[in-house]
């Protein structure tokens, strides 16, 4: 039993990373209708930036801020300079997948050329597990607890932003029907830029806490992790931030608990199995989808 509880605990950490990444990913699909395969590469860029801050002696907060900023800038620039322009040229959605993947490959290999072809590990201060958690067999250290709280706070904040503010309304309007939004006086180009900044920030942030939560990473780890992010996003329904967060919770805990029973390197297979089943049988996600499959297909 205790092993199950600790598995759930670790699952929460995985879920936190996945949730932040999936929420950003689903925002991008919603606003630009781009299935951004370069998301993992941007994420791992955040991890590397966080690593640089971490090695320079910076704390978790500094690393997160730096990683988020890097992710935000890189995503917004990639969208402005690459994705929007290729879409404007009439490249179809499959072509955009190739554009995104090639961009991912370029970013990944730049990172590898600069940082070298080795695995990196964050310096973690060896703090003892928090006392009250220890009593219920949750063996999480303070960093992991901070990660979980951080993810919850950020996602709650984002939900408030989307639901309560003018900016959030404009973002949702643009995602729903951009030409109608433009006709209503919303500066959609700017809203799209802001959305990419926010989602890119989430992506970079997810990258940093990914670095904190996994043992070791290299330049291709981001794209490997992206498949788990896909699974969470599809489970929650494309274009639905809260759905993506819930999907991440399910996937994270499922992977972690499964690791108790099956070979640990098969857990990702389980997550991807869920993804395949979702694509085949419930393409709108478990909770329905803001972006329907039909819209995506056209």
């Amino acid at each position: 039993m205790s092993i199950l509880i600790s598995a759930v605990g670790f699952g929460l950490v995985t879920a936190a990373v996945t949730a932040l990444a999936a929420v950003g990913f689903t925002l991008q699909v919603g606003i630009s209708n781009v299935f951004n395969f370069s998301y993992g590469a941007v994420m791992i860029t955040g991890t590397y930036i966080g690593y640089a801050v971490n090695s320079a002696g910076g704390g978790l907060a500094a690393a997160c801020l730096a990683g988020a900023a890097a992710g935000a800038v890189l995503s917004a620039l990639a969208n402005r300079l690459l994705f929007v322009r290729f879409i404007g040229r009439g490249v179809n959605r499959f072509g955009m997948l190739i554009v995104c993947l090639q961009f991912a490959v370029i970013v990944q290999n730049l990172l590898q050329a600069i940082a070298g072809d080795t695995f990196f590990t964050y310096n973690l201060s060896a703090e003892p597990p928090i006392g009250f958690l220890k009593s219920v067999d949750f063996i999480l250290d303070p960093t992991q607890v901070t990660i979980i709280i951080l993810a919850v706070v950020v996602i709650a904040g984002l939900t408030l932003l989307l639901e309560m503010t003018r900016l959030g309304r404009a973002m949702r309007a643009t995602a729903g029907n951009s030409s109608l939004a433009r006709a209503c006086g919303i500066r959609t180009a700017r809203i799209i830029d802001i959305t990419w900044l926010i989602s890119g920030g989430l992506c970079g942030l997810a990258g940093v806490i990914f670095g904190y939560s996994v043992g070791a990473f290299q330049s291709s780890s981001g794209t490997d992790f992206l498949t788990v992010v896909f699974a969470a996003t599809m489970l929650g329904g494309l274009g639905r931030p809260l759905g993506a967060a819930l999907g991440a919770l399910v996937i994270g805990i499922a992977m972690s608990v499964l690791a108790v029973y099956i070979q640990s390197d098969m857990t990702q297979v389980a997550a991807l199995g869920i993804l395949i089943l979702i694509i085949l049988f419930r393409p709108r996600g478990l909770f329905g989808s803001a972006v329907s499959t039909k819209e995506l297909a056209t």
Binding site: I98, A113, G116, M266, L272, P283
Partner: protein
Amino acid sequence: MTYYITTILVYLGIDVLAIWGLNVQYGLCGVYNFGFILFQASGAYTAAILTLGPSSGNGGYQSYFFGASLPFPLPILVAGVVAAIIGVIFGLLTRRVGEDYLAVLTFVLAVVAILVVSAAVSFLNGPAGLSSVPQPLTSVLHVSLIAYSWLYVVFVALVCLLAYFSLRLLARAPLGRVMRAVRENEKAAASVGKNVGGLRIFALAYGGALAGISGALLVLFISTWSPGSWEYAETLTAFSAIIVGGTGNLYGAALGAFVVQILIFELPRFLPQVSAANLVGSLQWIVIGVLTLGFMWWRPQGLLPERKRSYDISWPVRQRTVRPIGTTPAGGVEMERE
């Protein structure tokens, strides 16, 4: 030196064959298959376990299921069949999803396959992969290494030639025309009663068989095959080759295979090491990425664009016109058909 040349020629033939396979799927029929490398991998694994002999017979240093040592051309043919069957399975799985999900689904399937093969060691020897696959007919031919590699070049060239004629036949046949119709407008093709799902399955199976055969030829030449040989990036390179060369054009696909797979990927391997090997590797990928994006931006039709087939519209076609009832025939009317 000669060995380098023959190796590069063999690689070229194998790459051209694989890219033609992708060209059937993507260039001809417009199937967005991002798990393409899976076909080549399945062909390679099939050929390997069918030549290595029973798993228990090799001192147990590598484990795999089944295992046989079939005579020479059989492993290659079976590899093609296995890859074609995987193509049919892909086609059936993807029958119910739209084009974009097709790409994501096939991508995920390829990732899952590599994870499963790596994790299940007794299946195909896990991350270490299969090695010391015997080269075909070495015991029969008794020739030097160089002569043998030249023979292999000739053999690969013959297979390519065979594939070329079959593909040219396909492209000109009504079947190829329908496949292009599916590529251009899936809904329109479906609306005139074409079996879009069936055509996709055919394209996946046919292109898959070519890729599987290319994988078999590759593994029989280089003797090893492991999960590192078929990461999703390889699929991306294949697409780069098609985009650079020219989508839907056989010569273009071959040229793209030469430019991307040989000029950029294989040749630097034979250059003297200038610096850290990994740096060169990274630079190759960056060059490919920039090249592909550049082509998509400035020349999306590729180096050798697909020749649009059209019926000669300048030739007047004599047509029977429908006579309104009650009028006298006024003779044939010369009409130009569009």
